[in-house]
Each structure stands twice: as structure tokens, then as C-alpha cells.
Symmetry: D2
Subunit: 377 residues, 4 copies
């Protein structure tokens, strides 16, 4: 349980570098008897994989996953599930020039000073390529959460650079390369990205993730709050610089009468809490937003230093996403699913026999006030 | 290492309810030989304690801490340091009416459905009173970080409800009840709070925390990133709904040329990264912002339900902070210190013998661009 | 979760020195709704406390426990249970002479070289006094295991120095100061101890612990085997030098036909496995034996060195157990209970929904062969 | 950090089934800059691999290891090291008959009742084949321990069934298929094994492991004692039923004057403690003994039940080790190395700056009394 393991009971241990032999993970703690196939995991990976549109990196990685263990005759056995993805399109020569210099905004300098050695090829361990592993592991969590608890985890892009993307419909999310929930804005987004790509610059994005159907009671009260571990999991994604639960930073300017969600026998009247109260799921949708910084690899000249501390000019050619946020939606969904599953197991470990006579409050009543973008889940 | 323990090598295990016999913690993993006194810990507690101005709760808790173990002749011994704070001013009768109803915005309903039992007095375990424990433990971490590495952790209120508080000077922070870094705004803040208190409503706040002097190299690359665990620690504070590192959500609309901090032999030219790159400290100041929601306990009528699921009207009298954010600054500082110390130990565990010939980049050059509110640390 | 925390889901974090202000622990992860009283915990502590016969140390410690948190109106709430035992009879002056010298067989030298500082009074943190904390925490585990699963954890002394103590009856165990399960041998044990005490020397002992009623299925298959964590827990008790499960070291000379326990529809025919197969409880009694070394504090002259590395002669006066094994039975029981409870929670976290049509094999059939000392299972 | 991860800072996460696609592990937390090659890991694996003599299983597994990540240009980078071993000689048809029945002494019944599903082929996850992974990971730990601290970890067989094997010389250990440290006994061991194999029965063994050069100070004082985690690690090896440190169970009958190791300025005069005092390494050799039960797979008829609970007769053909202890020496060495490395890192995390003026006591003086089998340390 050193730094590359996520979760306490549902545990994902990740390995691999961008241009090494392979990336992969070991998923430990999955309940036995879950039907899971390579195809189901691959389907999630395909949502994240590079090269699917002109707006993302053109690296051609099939990201084909192999299940090495833990699944027998199509069912999980309760033993560790090892997932392996061989790297294929490693044009390491593109990266020769970065062995000696530190790219601004990248982990290069920090890695170098921490470890005294680094696999510089494609960013090595710090490459966003590692997020494929999270998506693969997340596919297992999503399946279990859905089968066992009816939980659905979905995300979308709510802002691309300066363009806000109001939520219209989940149906749109899968129909464009941005995971945008709003068909009307897609052409604007495409034009923006085309211009950006031409300029050689990059841009940030905001992703929202929603977990529907989460039962009341998941989460621990003090440190291991459900929202604390969600924040951890989201901030651990490459390029994420901020995390909000529910109203998030908007709650700074809110009054108590405005923020705290009233309750009626028919359900909560709003969801400023984002589905978590006192660190424990409230029975409402869990609402998470993350801020993703602009890609640090850009073609434009940037000042930096080399290993000797001398001034250099860096510009990064090669194949890069001009907005890493575009492929981040499946990753954020996966991370939320992994955390929820871990907490589902933790909850039943301690509280398996708890029952109360108090009715479970249904999700947000249809006539309830709700924060955008909590969609009509 | 269930839910009430924070940290992997520098570990804080917290216990206690708002109106039980005591609150406290066990701090495990502290290096031996650190000089620490009750007075030093008490001084930190006094910064957070209630009843110090008319703008905070009037509960009279001296918050007197006792060191039960782990310190011998004024020095830490390397064994667990137990800290105990007896509860004294427990007017539990104020809370009788909340035993049967669920206060909106509070953890009441979630606790009840999770555990089937709850100590309702003063919110029990979910009370912000628990944060005193964090401040006490944090005092130890701050001392060590400062002595061993010259790290200074400081925070301030950067927004109170609608009022933004531009950073002017660290010297102001200790001179007003708000931890506001700007003397000119204090009377406005006081007037706002007086009006608010009269109205019976509450409001949110934004707190910024800065760690100066953090050396390059703390943090793990993939899941246990330094910023991931900071996000976890901050989100685990009562009422926090959002966490930002560096530019945070502002990075969504930034371009790569704007966000990624250029490097010169004299230092970084900006600190959008907030001192963390690829999950590892970069050698710059670590910059963290948190959003704190408005206090859920307000005197105004709110709709809710009782244990039978029947509709009720709740309003909360008793002694409450109209803005829990006012006392949150020492808590946020403590949490940042605890995380940094944990990562300092983790780093030297793995990388004790690493050295490089590359110069350590000094902190932000004096003429460098820097994001507000990174103060001239 | 540094070195002073035991368990993964049912977690005991221990603190305190022999002659400091107090010892105690935080028990985290206990399921809510368990009825537990100070008296029940005290009753277990009283079984271990010093001064109850002439054969143990004459230090007069009432070992009065206080519950500081986590219990409300007589029931656990699911939040951390803090237990506090104030030290009272601290004759630290007895220990002044050991501040500068290292007692052979004790942790003195190792502590000193590890930490560069130590609370030498009474052995400080390395004192067996810390085991009181384990007994207190174990009382909670025992209660839950028994109420929820019918598990009973009992131990006895099976050897005192050279005297083997054949198991006769559980009824005897509580009727003599040795936890000996055999009334006929008590006077021999007393005579042996009287002679030993007079000689100034000390002696070892062997303790057996049996958990009856453990259902099949607790334990993880590879590293976190039930028996692995039992071995860890037992070896973590002061003075323990060996741990056996089931046939233990006797299995070295056994043949497969002799060792592996045959199964019939009526039950297992023997229990060489000691109730654990492949790291998982088998449905039979869990059988554990531990070896406890002779007390290192003796009145006789021993060669050692002091802090300067100079040769000295050490003999330890003060109040000591001539056989620490005599008070070890409640400690070993407590440790087994804590491990079992942790694994009970871990098991249901992962496997809560597992059922099979295969009958649960009853415990050892009455006509079955069984290893001594598996008592009247 | 669920059940298949070993260690806290130097972490091994294991996966794989006997007849699945592969076995392997992720080694996380290794310090950067360690030179390690496939050949070095392979050399350790070759010591354990099957088919090397007539006395072990004839399964032909080359056990070829591949390094997938974490090593760059021959040096560890500080990121996770994934090791992969493809399974090749999987005659699963040999195991068809065990899908429906539970082999006595095996984990079959316990797995089935725990998980409700199991990969029965070759024992699946419970197969001793998983120990290859430990040996591979241990190779890294051994290399680091030796380079950084001069620690050498070596083991040998000290008893095979009824035949005790007195220690003569480390030089003999690698010269016979038993890891026996005594050339004179090898022909007796071979004759015994030939007879045993013919009989269809199996037998147990005792393995001793010694770590030389361990500096004083590794280990935590209360739960995470060095010896406690060694006990855990050893008991987690398939078929192990007992663990001793130093004098082990012999200490039961010892007197204090006999057991506690006297100290002189020239060194300790004996090593009954086995190199651990108060949970912390003492500067002497760490001495560990383990008991390994007889192989449960034998050709002779044994009573058992099937999935329906009906009585059946089981005898196990296929390719099995008649004494699993024969190949256990490299596994036990690996486990000791992994634990020591974890504790080396833990120690420096907390105590990196500790120094004392007290001389480090040299290892056992040449004229010192020492327990068999502490060899020519």
C-alpha cells in the first residue's frame, strides 16, 4: 500500500510507463461471482483511447486489455484481477530532447529531483497514459455498483476553456468527441479546438461527474469521508487542479437558508450538498466537478532550464492532446466508481446489520430545486 | 487504520464527541527528539477556540490539552503521543429537540441511516468540535516541519460570504477575529457579521493556506500525489465543499501559455501549479484554497422530517458560529501541516540517498508573476 | 496506521508508557449497536491485573478503565471508542539505575539506538503494562464475536517452565492464579514458583488459545491469511518467541496421511490444521500456541554495558513477574479476539452475498481424533 | 491494500492462479537507482523452480520472468516494478476430478464456502505456485539490503520429516536438492525421499532462515514489531504451521539466566533473542525457524466430502512435491528479505536523523555462546 495503490478494500494497484513494455493494474478485493468480460472492460477503454478524433492525440494505441487472473469461467473469483495493456505505438525518438531538459508545467523537474533518475520517454510514469488503467479498473467497479445497487456513474464536459456547456441531455454525451451534453454547442467547440490546435497552444476544461442511485450511508464520519476520498481520487488524476462537491465554491457566497437542502417526506428539495452530508452519502445524487489545467505540452516556445540548471527554450512537438480534458470524462467516472465501490464494501463491513424504521428519502423530488448541472437522473 | 486515522507514517487517530467526556487523538510516527510542550500545542488551540469574539459561538470551552504519552522530559520519544481535551461546557439540554429530527444540511439523517444510532448531543461525532484535535496534532507537525525543513504553514480568510478579501499582509492575519489579511476590510466584515447574526442566517467563506519552504520532491507520482492527499485532508474538514491547488478552477479557462509556469535559472516565473507538479512538490510555495459552506445550524425555520419520516419544521437555537469559516483557518493550516509532514517522512523512506547535481530552483523570483493570493512569502 | 495500530477494519491504536500519565487506546471500526459497559471491560482487565497473587508482580495498579467516547446510552455508536487507564503506582525511583545501562534481554539497547532517547522508567513503552490496553480492546471484540457469531475465545497455560500441564477442563482455568486447566497440578506449580521466586531467577511458559464457533470463510488467501495475522498478533505480545497453529512444529515429522484432516459428512476427523486451511477458517476450532520467554528482569547478576559502551553488572530489583507467562493468557485471548473480529468484518465486506448449497461442516465430530489440547470443542 | 499486498512501504501486490494465464506482482516503493536485471531475478526463481530433481514436482515450468515497468536502463526508477511470469505447463485435465470434491488438508472447502466459486485447476490461487512471485520480489529486496546495508539472507533445511539436519556449512546448502547444510546427510535424505515417493505419502520439514548484518534499530515497538511482521510473513507461506524467533519454543523451559543474552563491550554472548528485542533488531543475526506441514496432495485414499456434502474417497494423482518443504527455502528467504527491507525504509522514515554516542555492539563475539543453528555468523 505504497503510493500506487488506490482504495482500502477495493484496491487498485497501478504500474507502467508511457513508453515501457506495458501498463496495467491489480484489482484486489472485488466480490466474487461478478460476471465481467474483456469486452466490457475494453468498451470503457475505447471511450478514452487516443486517436478517435482530430481533437485528441494521434498516438495510435489500441489499448487492448488482457485479464491475467481473478476471473474464472466469466466470473470474478474474489482473488486479484490483474489487467495488462501492452504499449504499442511508442515513438520514443520524439522524446529524446526532453531527457536533458525540464518541460514547464510537467513533472520533469520534480521527478528528477525526487528520484535522481527518470524514464523521460513520453513522460514515463507521469504520463496521462496511466489513466487507461483507472478506466479499466473502473469498469469492474461500475459493473458491480450497477448490478448490486443500481448505481449509475456518468460524466460530461461542462466547460471547455472559456465556453460553458449547459447540461441538456445525457443522450448527447456519447454523440460527440467532447462528452458535451449539449448538441447545440458542438460545432462551436469544434471550431474552438481547430483554432487552438492551429495556434499551438492548449486549454483547460471542467468535467462534471454524477453518481445516481447511491444509497444513504456510505462514508466514514471524520477523515475518511466519502467526499474526502472522492477529492483525493479526483485530484490524483493528471492535470486536475480543483475539486468541488455539490455547490462547491459557490457555497462561499451562499447563505445557510440558500445552501442547506430542505427535506420533505417526498425527498430533498435541493442538492447543494452534492449527495454527501457529514462525509456520508445522503441518498441524493453524488455531484462532483473537477478543473483540468491546459496541457503542458505545447508547440510554442517556453523558458525552462536543463539538468545543469542552464536556461533553455522548450517547445514540445510530438503527438499531444491540445486539451487533456477532452478524454478525461471516462477517467473521472472511473475514479468516482472506484471510490464508491470501496466505500460500499467498507460500509457493509461495519454496518451490515443496521436497519432503521425511518423511510429512505427518495432522490430529489421532480419539482425540487436542483443545482445545475445535476441532471434529471 | 479505519476511517478515523489520517496519514500513513505520521498518523493521527481521532476520537470524541461534542458532548461526551472528551475529545483527543493519538499521534503516531513522530520522529524522536522533537522538543514540544503543552504550551505550544495550547497556543495553537487558542487560535481556534470558541468564545473569543462576538462573531463566533459563545460556548465556553477552554480546550485545555493534556499530553498523556510519547513526550519525555520535553522531547518526543518516537512512541505515540496521546492528546486529551476534556469537554466542559456541554449544555446538552439545548439539543434535546434534535434527537428525533434531522436538521437540514447536517449529518443527522445520514448518520442515523448509516449507524441506526447516534449521539445527537451537539452533533456528536459530526460536530466541528472535533477539529480541535486536528489543530492539536497539527501543532506537532508544524513544529517539526519548521525545525527540520524551515517550512512555514500559514492561512487566511480570502472571502467572507460575498466580500472578497484581497491579501495585503501576513501581519494583519492575527490582528482580527477573521484571520483576514487586510486591515482595511475588517470593519466591513464586522458590520456584515453583526447584520448576519441579527438575521439568524449564516454564510460561507473561503480560506487560503500557503506552505512556504517546502523542498522539491515530496509526493508520490500516481495516486498518493501530494495534492491528492491535501485535497483529501481539506475535504475531510467539516463544511468544506471545494478544494483548489494553485490556479484551481481558474485553470479551466487558461491557455497553456498562461498556466504552465516558466522556469529560469533564477526560479519559477509564476505559480499556477500551486507548488505541485505531477503530484510532487516543485520547490515553490504550496497554495491551497478551500470553500466552506454556510453553517447549517440557523435560527430560521427550515423544512425537514423526523425519525418517522413525518414533516417537521426545524430551527436551531443554542450557541453556533454564524460562519464556521471564521474559525477554520487554524484547522486548514493544521491539516496542511499534517499532510506535509507525512509526505516528508514518506519521501525520505524511499529516497533518502537521492542527490542530483541539478540546482534546486529557488522560490518564485521577486519579479515573477504570481497568482493572487500567493503572498510574498 | 503507523506501528501502533492493529487491524484493518477493527483497529486498535495503542498509546502510553509504563510510568507516564496513562495508557489507553482508540478502538475504531466497531459496529454500532453493541451493548458494552465499563464493567464488562473492567472484568477482563481484572483477569490480567497485577498484584492478584504472590506469583505475579506486586505493583498495585487498579487498572481502572474509562470510556471516553464512542458509546452512547450503553451502546456503541460506530464512532471511535477511546479507552483510558491512568497509571497510579509508579515507583519510578526503582528504575533510576536503568537510565544509563541496558538490561540484558530487554529492549533498552535497541530502543536507545533506534530513537536516541527513551523513557526508561519501568521500561517505558516496551513494558508489558501496555498489554492491559489489548485486554481492554479485546473485551469489545469478544463481546461482539460472541453475540453476533457465537464465537468463544478461551486460553490456558499448557506449560510452565519444565512442567507440562495437560488439559483437563475449562472449569479449572479460572480457579487458580496460573490459568492452568488442571487442578491436580496447581500445587506443583505453586511450589515451583515459590522456589523460583526465592532463587531470583525467572522462567518461560506456553499458552494455548482456542476460538470455538468460528464460521468457515474468514481469512484472505495469500498474504493476509487468518493464521498469518494471528501469528503477527501473537508475536507482537511482549516476550513471545514462537507461534503455532494447530499441529505447529509437530507437523514437521508428520506424514500427510497423519496430518491432513479427513472430512466426513459428520465433520472433520481431526484438527491438525488448527482451524485454518489456505489462510481461511475451516469451520473447526482455531488452535493457537505461543511460547513466552522467561522474564528478563531478574535479581541475579548479569553482564551488560552502559551508554558509553562500558561493561557493567546489572541486576533488577523492583517488582517483577518471575514468569510473565502467568498473566499472558488474557492477553493472548484478547489478541485472538481482535484478529478474528477484524477478519469477520473483512469477510463480510467482500463476501456478504455468498451462499452455497454445500452443508457447513459441523465442528469436530465427538468421536473424532483431535490434537491435544483442543478442548471439549 | 486488501489481502494480497505485503508490506507498508516496500509493497508487493501479488496476483495469479496456478493454471491461469500468468502469475506476477507489482513491487511498489523500491528506492530509485538500484541496479537490477532480469537475470538476477531469474537466478532466484531458478532456485525454487519445479522439475530440478526427482524429489520435487515434475511440472515443467521455466518460470521466466519479465520486467514490465519501473526499471529504466538497468536501474530502478522509484516507480512500481511489475513482474510477470506466464504459466506454461498447465495440465488442467489432471485436476478435473477435484472440481466437485474437497481435498483434505487443502483450501478447497474453505475457498468454496468463502467465495462460492473457485478456480479449482491446480488449486488455483491457493497453489504454492504463487510463491514464485515472492521469490521474484524478494530478489529485489535482497539486492538492496545487501548493497545498502550489507545484509545477507540465507536459509537451509534443518529437518526433513524425522531426520534432523545439523548445520555444518553454508557451502553445502547449494550443493544438494534439499538446501541441506550438511553433506554427510544427503544420501540419507535421498533414500528417505525415494521411499516416501514410492509409498505415495508426504512429509513435513523445518526451514531455518538467518539474516546477517541487520543493523540495530529496525522495527516498531508495539504492534508492528519486526518479529511480528516476520511471523506474519512466514505464516503466510503455504503449508507453514509454526514460526519461531531465536530460541522459540525452547524458551518455554528456559530460565532467565539462560535465555536473556548477556552483553559485553565485545558483543552479545548468545542469541536466544534471535536478533530482535522489544520488536526492534538488536544488531545480532535475525534467526527464524518455520514448520512446514506435509503436502496435502497424496496418492493414498483419504475420506472427504463433495459439494453436495456426500462422502467421497479422494486420492490425488498429478505432479506433486512429496515434501513442499524442499522448495521452501528460497521462499522463506525472500519473505524475510521483503520484511527487512520494509522495516529498513520505515525506520529511516521516522528516525533518519538519530545518532547516539553509544557504540554499536558488534555481532556475536567469536567466543560467544550461540544457539544452534545460528551459523558461522
Amino acid at each position: 500500500m505504497s503510493g500506487n495503490t488506490l482504495g482500502k478494500l477495493f484496491c487498485v494497484t497501478s504500474f507502467g510507463e508511457s513508453h515501457g513494455a506495458a501498463i496495467g493494474c491489480v484489482v484486489d478485493g472485488c466480490p466474487p461471482g461478478l460476471a465481467i468480460s474483456v469486452e466490457e472492460i475494453q468498451a470503457e477503454l475505447d471511450r478514452r483511447k487516443p486517436g478517435t478524433s482530430r481533437h485528441v492525440t494521434q498516438r495510435r494505441e489500441p489499448d487492448e486489455v488482457e485479464i491475467l487472473s481473478g476471473v474464472f469461467e466469466g466470473l470474478t473469483t474474489g482473488t486479484p484481477i490483474a489487467l495488462l495493456i501492452r504499449n504499442q505505438d511508442q515513438r520514443s525518438r520524439d522524446y529524446g530532447n526532453i531527457a536533458e531538459t525540464f518541460r514547464p508545467g510537467h513533472a520533469d523537474y520534480a521527478y528528477w529531483q525526487k528520484y535522481g533518475i527518470r524514464d523521460h520517454r513520453g513522460g514515463g510514469r507521469s504520463s496521462a497514459r496511466e489513466t487507461a488503467v483507472r478506466v479499466a479498473a473502473g469498469a469492474i467497479a461500475r459493473k458491480w455498483l450497477n448490478e448490486r445497487h443500481g448505481v449509475v456513474v456518468r460524466g460530461f464536459m461542462s466547460q471547455l476553456g472559456p465556453i460553458e456547456i449547459p447540461f441538456e441531455s445525457w443522450d448527447e454525451v456519447g454523440c460527440n468527441p467532447f462528452f458535451a451534453p449539449n448538441a447545440k454547442l458542438v460545432s462551436e467547440l469544434e471550431a474552438y479546438m481547430d483554432e487552438l490546435r492551429k495556434s499551438g497552444d492548449s486549454v483547460g476544461a471542467r468535467i462534471d461527474v454524477v453518481a445516481s442511485g447511491v444509497p444513504v450511508g456510505w462514508g466514514e464520519p471524520v477523515y475518511d469521508r466519502l467526499d474526502a476520498d472522492i477529492a483525493y481520487a479526483m485530484m490524483s488524476i493528471n492535470a486536475v487542479k480543483g475539486v468541488e462537491i455539490g455547490a462547491g465554491f459557490a457555497s462561499v457566497a451562499q447563505r445557510g437558508t440558500e445552501h442547506s437542502d430542505e427535506i420533505t417526506p417526498e425527498g430533498y428539495l435541493s442538492n447543494n450538498a452534492g449527495g454527501v452530508l457529514g462525509g456520508i452519502s445522503s441518498g441524493q445524487d453524488v455531484l462532483v466537478s473537477i478543473a483540468i489545467k491546459p496541457t503542458s505540452s505545447i508547440r510554442l516556445d517556453r523558458r525552462s532550464i536543463d539538468k545543469q540548471g542552464e536556461a533553455v527554450i522548450v517547445n514540445t512537438h510530438g503527438r499531444h492532446d491540445p486539451c487533456v480534458g477532452i478524454r478525461a470524462t471516462p477517467v473521472a467516472e472511473a475514479m468516482l466508481a472506484i471510490v464508491l465501490m470501496d466505500y460500499a464494501l467498507r460500509h457493509r463491513a461495519q454496518c451490515a446489520e443496521v436497519t432503521t424504521a425511518t423511510p429512505r428519502i427518495a432522490r430529489l423530488a421532480p419539482d425540487g430545486v436542483q443545482r445545475v448541472p445535476a441532471p434529471g437522473a
